[in-house]
């Protein structure tokens, strides 16, 4: 199971340890800087409480592999082979806190899990290079709300820890806004006509985690120590 692997990462590497971190929310667009951890169980559901608007074929495919995916079968969940889990799966999993760093040209989500970095480019829209595991992330600020347009998601990834599917032309719009000094909300609108009958929006709430920082993690070392690689 993905969660099991991630927990192993936290345990075997010393994980998230205490260090200096901003105690209070930062001003302006820097409010998002710091370490965040998702609430919930790492699954995405429509914020309006309605069922996920699957197309029938997509629902069948998801149901067919969901159990194996959640159980951590590396044949369907490629993150168990140390490949990036992708987004929004990684950020919405409460077992993988991440640090956000704001610079003028980029906003970064830095994960301990296998040293992965999601790079949000704060530039004008441009040609897509992909598919890539973290997708192409084009961000901009609407006041103090970070808006990210995501496309070119890699077919090896699922949208959440159940392997929620996406097509190659899926387009995600994420809006990150502050809910005060200690919380952040992300609304994730998934527009993927190949998989879903209509766009739908999930909501994830994150807690700020002052005193945590992200340490080095090498997935293949971890898996090797666990005896999962051929010698």
């Amino acid at each position: 199971m993905m969660a099991k692997g991630m927990m192993m990462a936290l345990v075997t590497t010393g994980a998230l340890i205490g260090a200096a971190a901003p105690a209070a929310a930062l001003s302006g667009q820097d409010w998002i800087e710091g370490v965040w951890q998702a609430r919930g169980d790492g699954t995405l559901k429509p914020a309006d409480g309605k069922p996920i608007p699957f197309k029938p074929v997509a629902a069948m495919a998801w149901n067919a592999q969901k159990a194996a995916f959640v159980a951590g079968d590396p044949k369907v969940d490629f993150s168990r082979r140390c490949k990036p889990p992708g987004e929004p799966r990684l950020m919405s999993d409460p077992r993988t806190p991440f640090a956000v760093i704001v610079t003028k040209p980029r906003v970064l989500f830095a994960y301990q899990w296998n040293r992965l970095v999601r790079m949000i480019e704060m530039e004008a829209p441009r040609e897509v290079i992909g598919p890539v595991y973290f997708g192409q992330n084009a961000g901009h600020w609407e006041g103090e709300v970070l808006v990210v347009d995501v496309q070119a998601l890699h077919p090896n990834t699922g949208l959440d820890r159940t392997g929620l599917p996406h097509g190659e032309k899926a387009r995600l719009t994420e809006r990150f806004r502050s809910l005060g000094a200690r919380q952040m909300e992300a609304t994730i609108t998934i527009d993927d006509p190949a998989t879903y009958t209509a766009p739908w929006t999930a909501r994830v709430v994150f807690d700020r985690q002052p005193g945590l920082t992200v340490k080095e993690d090498i997935c293949l070392d971890r898996e090797n120590l666990a005896g999962k690689l051929k010698q």
């Binding site: 205490g18 260090a19 610079t103 980029r106 970064l108 992965l116 441009r126 290079i129 070392d221 090797n224």
Partner: protein
């Protein structure tokens, strides 16, 4: 990253697996494997390589995608940008090597003492292609620097390596040995000084302490002097130049994918 370099690495991966054993693998993925030709001739064809030929390279697009474009900022403390490395010939650690000799800071010889985090036994043949071995190797082929008043990050495209230094006066007392160590940054005039402790090296039982001085040049390049503490003194290790490359763009590089393609790692 150029397609030529990727192909070079892929070819090298196969050759290493077959002929050189466990520690030949990381050697091909280390900076020492690149040549000046690779750097000077770095073309934008990586786009085509990554997209399976769906997207054709066009230099003008790459320029538009740059972090800041050219020319570089004239602010000596604005290091934001995309770079690739050049080792200073003849300098400490940068001296020309005999054919077949190990790169400075390269992987330890086979048979190095086992045990603990620094043991080569931590990695198998497969993992060896994608794991970190040492500190010096972190100056990788293409590097993005992102800096703000609170921290500075070095994102190395190859094998998604990341170094992270926070502007602080003291190290994290809880830091444990790691290949990237625990880094704190400060300004000495317009020179960025990064002090890194708890640096592990595979095959080496103890940790190291490095100090790096990074100074932006008028042409946008960054001159780096790297020192390592030896017997209580900082001794020069090497000089590296990060060359301002506004024509390059950070590309996701998942070493674990390359590894599987060559029958190593998870199968």
């Amino acid at each position: 990253m150029s397609a030529r370099w990727r192909n070079h690495r892929r070819t090298g991966l196969c050759a290493c697996v077959l002929a050189m054993g466990a520690w030949g693998m990381p050697a091909m993925a280390q900076v020492g494997a690149a040549t000046l030709d690779d750097i000077a001739d770095a073309p934008p064809q990586f786009k085509e390589a990554l997209s399976g030929g769906k997207i054709k390279p066009q230099a003008s697009e790459l320029t538009r995608q740059n972090i800041q474009g050219a020319p570089p900022s004239q602010d000596p403390r604005d290091l934001n940008g995309m770079y690739n490395f050049l080792r200073a010939p003849g300098g400490p650690g940068g001296a020309p090597r005999a054919p077949g000799a190990a790169a400075p800071g390269g992987p330890p010889p086979r048979g190095a003492a086992p045990g603990g985090l620094a043991s080569p036994r931590v990695s198998n043949v497969g993992a060896g292609a994608c794991v970190i071995n040492n500190f010096a190797g972190l100056t990788s082929y293409s590097t993005t620097i992102l800096i703000n008043p609170r921290q500075v990050l070095f994102l190395m495209e190859e094998n998604h390596l990341m170094r992270w230094a926070r502007f602080a006066d003291t190290h994290d007392p809880a830091a444990k040995p790691s290949f990237t160590g625990d880094s704190i940054a400060r300004w000495d005039g317009d020179t960025l000084v990064i002090d890194t402790t708890q640096v592990a090296t595979r095959g080496k039982p103890d940790t190291d302490h490095y100090v790096e001085r990074m100074t932006k040049q008028a042409d946008g390049n960054i001159a780096i002097e790297r020192f390592r503490e030896t017997d209580g003194q900082l001794a020069p290790v090497e000089k590296v130049a990060l060359r301002w490359r506004p024509d390059l763009h950070y590309v996701e590089d998942i070493c674990e994918d390359f590894g599987e393609a060559f029958g190593i790692g998870y199968q």
